[in-house]
Symmetry: C2
Subunit: 582 residues, 2 copies
Amino acid sequence: MLRTHNCGELRLQDVDKQVTLCGWVQRIRDKGGIMWIDLRDRYGLTQLIFKEGSTPEELLEKARTTGREYVIQALGKVEKRFSNNPKIPTGEIEILVKDINILNPSKVPPFIIEDETDGGEELRMKYRYLDLRRTPSRQNLELRHRLMQETRLYLNQLDFIEIETPILIKSTPEGARDFVVPSRVNPGEFYALPQSPQTFKQLLMVSGFDRYYQIVKCFRDEDLRADRQPEFTQIDCEMSFVEREDIIRTFEGLIKFLFKQIRGIELPDFPLMSFDEAVKDYGTDKPDTRFEMKLKHLDSAAQGKGFKVFDQAELVVGISVKGCAEYSRKQLDELTDWVKRPQIGAKGLVYVKYNSDGSFKSSVDKFYTSEDLKTWAKELEGKPGDLLLVLSGDKESTLFAMSELRLEMGKRLNLLDPKVFEPLWIVDFPLMEWDDKVQRFFAMHHPFTSPHKEDMNLLETDPGKARANAYDVVINGVELGGGSIRIHDRTIQEQMFKALGFSKEEAQSQFGFLMNAFEYGAPPHGGIAFGFDRLCAMLGGADSIREFIAFPKNNSGRDIMIDTPSPIHREQLDELHIKLKS
Amino acid sequence: MLRTHNCGELRLQDVDKQVTLCGWVQRIRDKGGIMWIDLRDRYGLTQLIFKEGSTPEELLEKARTTGREYVIQALGKVEKRFSNNPKIPTGEIEILVKDINILNPSKVPPFIIEDETDGGEELRMKYRYLDLRRTPSRQNLELRHRLMQETRLYLNQLDFIEIETPILIKSTPEGARDFVVPSRVNPGEFYALPQSPQTFKQLLMVSGFDRYYQIVKCFRDEDLRADRQPEFTQIDCEMSFVEREDIIRTFEGLIKFLFKQIRGIELPDFPLMSFDEAVKDYGTDKPDTRFEMKLKHLDSAAQGKGFKVFDQAELVVGISVKGCAEYSRKQLDELTDWVKRPQIGAKGLVYVKYNSDGSFKSSVDKFYTSEDLKTWAKELEGKPGDLLLVLSGDKESTLFAMSELRLEMGKRLNLLDPKVFEPLWIVDFPLMEWDDKVQRFFAMHHPFTSPHKEDMNLLETDPGKARANAYDVVINGVELGGGSIRIHDRTIQEQMFKALGFSKEEAQSQFGFLMNAFEYGAPPHGGIAFGFDRLCAMLGGADSIREFIAFPKNNSGRDIMIDTPSPIHREQLDELHIKLKS
C-alpha cells in the first residue's frame, strides 16, 4: 500500500507515529515560513504542516508546486496541533511532513470541490468524477451502499433468497416501451431489456423458491420526465403461500427497519387507505398525509346557481386554507396564474375569503349569496380567517390540479415538514382502466395482478368494476413501491388477457411460458417492488434521485460525461442485420 | 400466511401441535386403508398420513384426487412416526391430516422432479421452472446466494463500497463485440451494454472512492462456445493507492474466505508463476497444477535426425506419462485420433514406450536410435514403464494441443482430484499481442493495463516486449479472475493507444472522458474481476456454469423457455429509426 493510514483515522494517541498518507490537496495555506496542506480522501481530512527550520527548503519548494486536487503521498510524523480544529475528527493532530511525492498533478478543476460548489448541474454531470469527490455526493453513494446492505440483511434474515434474473429477455407490448437489443446470431430477432423481473420472479415461485429478492436494474424507454431515468434500480421481491396482509406486514417491516437503521427514525404502523378514499380526500393515489386540508366536493352546493362554469363542470371541488383570508389581490392573482400553468392545467381559480369578522368576499359574488358561501365554508370545514379555493372541470384533470394546489398551499404554509414521515398503504385499486382513445381496458398495475377474491367473477361480466388485490406504499406523497397478489391460475390469467383485449393467440405467444407454468402446480403468490433510487433520495432527505446515482443520465436519456448514446460503425449495423432509416 | 410451518422444520418436540403446511406432492403411497403423501417445499419434506378410522372417507377420497406436483395445503396434528426415516431431518414425525385444500393441480410433469431426473438438458431448460424444483438445482442457486452474501461480507469489512455503474453505456470497438441498444430519442444513435464496468470503476477511483466493488451483469456478443453465456456475472473490484502485491493479498484473501465459508476448505497461499513459466511448463496460462507431467521442449534432441515432420516444426514438445508404457496399439490409435479431433487440432502423435526392461518402442523407430530415445526420455524425465508422447508443429497450436493432451492424460490417470484445489497467480503477461492478420498489436488484457514500471519506456520503443502489470487467479486449470494495475497518467495512456494503432482522434473520441479525468488528479489504482458464475460452479463442484444460473441461455444465445430473441413489431422498429436488412 502506498499509505499506512487514511486521512480520517489519526488521533492524539497516534502522536509520534511515522505515517504515510495519500490523498488530494484540498486547500493550501502558505504563510511563508509556515505552510499547511489539507489532505483529503474518502475517510476525511488531515492537516499537513511544513515549517522553516523543521522542513528542508527543497521540500517546501516542492510542496509549493502542488495545487488544488493534486494527488500526493506525504510521509511524516504525527504531532499534536497547537490550535485544535474541533470540526473534524482529526482536528487534534497534524503531520509534520518529512517528504512528499506528487503522484499525479491536476489541472484547475472546472468547479469548486467543496460542500457548496459553484458548478451548475450540467457541468457537474459532465465532470461527474469530480462532482463525486464532494462530500455531499460521496455521502449520497455511501448511503446507497448502506441501504443495499441493510435491505439484504433484513431479507436474508427472513429466508429470502437473492436470485439474478436475466437482462436479455423478450419484448412484450404490454406496459411501457421496451429497450431492445438486436441479435446478431438470430437475424431479424431482438432481445428486450426488462422493465421489471415480473414474469421471472413468478416463475421462481412456481419453482418453489418461496421468498425471492433482488436489487436489480430495470429499464423503460419512456419520454423522460424530470427525475426519471431510463435505467433505474428496484428492490424486487416475491413470496409464496401469502395473502395481502402477509406482504404488508413483511415489507412494512422492511421500510421501518431501513428508516431505523439509516436515519434512527421509528416509523409508526402504516394505516391502510383505499384508492377511492385517497382520490376523494386528496385527489390522488399518492396522498401526502403530513397535513389535512382535504378536498371536498362542492357540486351540490355550487351548481344550479347560474354560474355556468360550475354548472357545466363534471366536478367542483375545494379546499379550505387555514388563516389565508388576508391574501392580497396580488397574491390571489399569482395563485391563479400558478394553477393555470401547463403543468397544473386549470382553467381558472375561484376563491372565497372567509373574513375573520364572519363576512365573505369571493371572486364569484355575482352568483352566490353570503348564505351560499357559508354553505361552502361548512362543506369545506372552513373557519373565519380561512381562504377557500375552488376548482372545476372534468373529473380527472380537476382532481389532479386540486391535489397539486393542495400541496402548493401546504408548502406555502410550511406544513411539509421534511423531518416528519407519514407512511401509508393504498389498497383496493381498480383492476383496469378504460382507455377511451383505443377503446380497451388497460391493467392499472400489470396483467398479472389478481382481482379481489370477491370480484373474481366480475372479470367476465364487468371487468371495469373489479378491484385489484394490489397495494402501494406511499410516504409523504411519494410512491415508494407497490405490488399485488398475483394470478396463479391459468383460467383466470386467460380471462384477464381477454378482458385486456388480447386474442387467445396473442396471449399464448407472449405469455404462454407463464400460463403453461401455471399448469404445473403454481402456488398462490404475491410480491412487491420498491424504487430503490427514490428510497435513497427519501432517506437522504433530497428530492432528486439523480444525486443518488453514481453516473445518471440527463432528461434526454444522455450520459453527457461519456457522451452516449452515440453513432456506431456501419460494420456493427451490418453484423446485426439492421439499417438506419433515412 | 397459508402455512404455520414449512416442510423442513417439524421435529419430535412439535408432537401434538396443530399445524398447517403448504407444498408440492412429491410422492403418494396408497395402501388402501392407509395413505402417505410426501409434501415438499424449499426447506424439506414432511410426511402426511391419512388412515381409515382417523381420516374421514371424503378426505381420503380428496387426497386420492391429487397427484405429483399438485400444490396443497394440509392441516393436521404432528405425530411421532412408527418407523423413522433417518435420511431426512423431519423423519421422526408425520402429520395426521385433518383436512387438505388443493391450491393448484398439476399436469404430469414432462420429467421426473427428483435428484436423478430423466429429463435431457433441452427439456429441462424449456421447463426450467420445474427443473429448479429439483434439490440439486435448488441447492446450486442457494450456493450462489450464499456466495454473494459472503463476498459482500468480506469486502464490506475491508471498507469496500458497493456502487452500481450504468448498463446503458457507449459502444467501443476495442475488446469483444458489444450488444447495442438503439435510442428512440436520439435517432441513429445507440447505447451499448457493458462488457465490464472497467472505465466507470476507474472513474470512481478518480472520484476518490478508493475501494469499490459490484456483483454485476456484463455482456459479450461473442460466438458462444460451450459454457459461455451472452450475459454473465462478475465480482468487479478496484482499489486506489495500491501496488500489485496489495491486490494479490486482498483478493487471495477473498478466495480463501469463500472456500472456507462455503466449503470448509483452507486453501494454501497462492504461489506466483510467470506467464512465460506457465507456457513453458504447461503450454497454457491456465495451468492445472494438481499434477506435474510438465511439458519439455525436445527441439534439440529430436530435430536434425531426418524426420521431416519434426525438422520442419517450429516446436517439438513432449510429456512423459507415468506407467503407461503398456498402452496397447488400440489405445495409442485412439489417443492419436483424440489429438486429431478438430477441438485439439494436432496433425499426429508420436509415442515412445519406455518399457520396464529399459528398451524403447516408438512410432518413429525408423528415424531414431535407442540412444536418441534415451535422450528424449531423459529430457522428459521419463522412467522405465512410462509412455512418452510428443507433438510438433507451429508453436501456438502445438502448445495448445499438448496442454490439452496433458490434461487428458491426467484425467485418464485420475490425477484431477476434484477435492484438491491448487490455486496460483499467473503474472508478468505480455502487455500486447501482435495480430498478423490485421497487422497491429492488441492489448492482451485491455488498453488500460499498466506496463511494468521497468518496461514503461518500451511502450514507445518496442511495445511487444513490454510486460503487463497484470495478474490472473487460476485454480485447477480454470481462470477464476484477473486484473491489473491500471495506467493513471494521460501521457502513458496516449502512448498505449498509439501502440495499439489508435489515431489521436480515435483515442480521444472513444476514451477522451477517461483521459480527461486522468488530468484532474487520478490516483494510482488497480483492480480485478472474478467470473462469478464460474466461481459458483467451482465451489459447487460442477463443470457447467449453466447449472448455477437461474435462467441461462443455450449455446445459440437463446432462452428456450421464454423463446427469445424474437421478432418485434414493425412500429417498434419505426420508433427506433431502424429497419431490418432484407
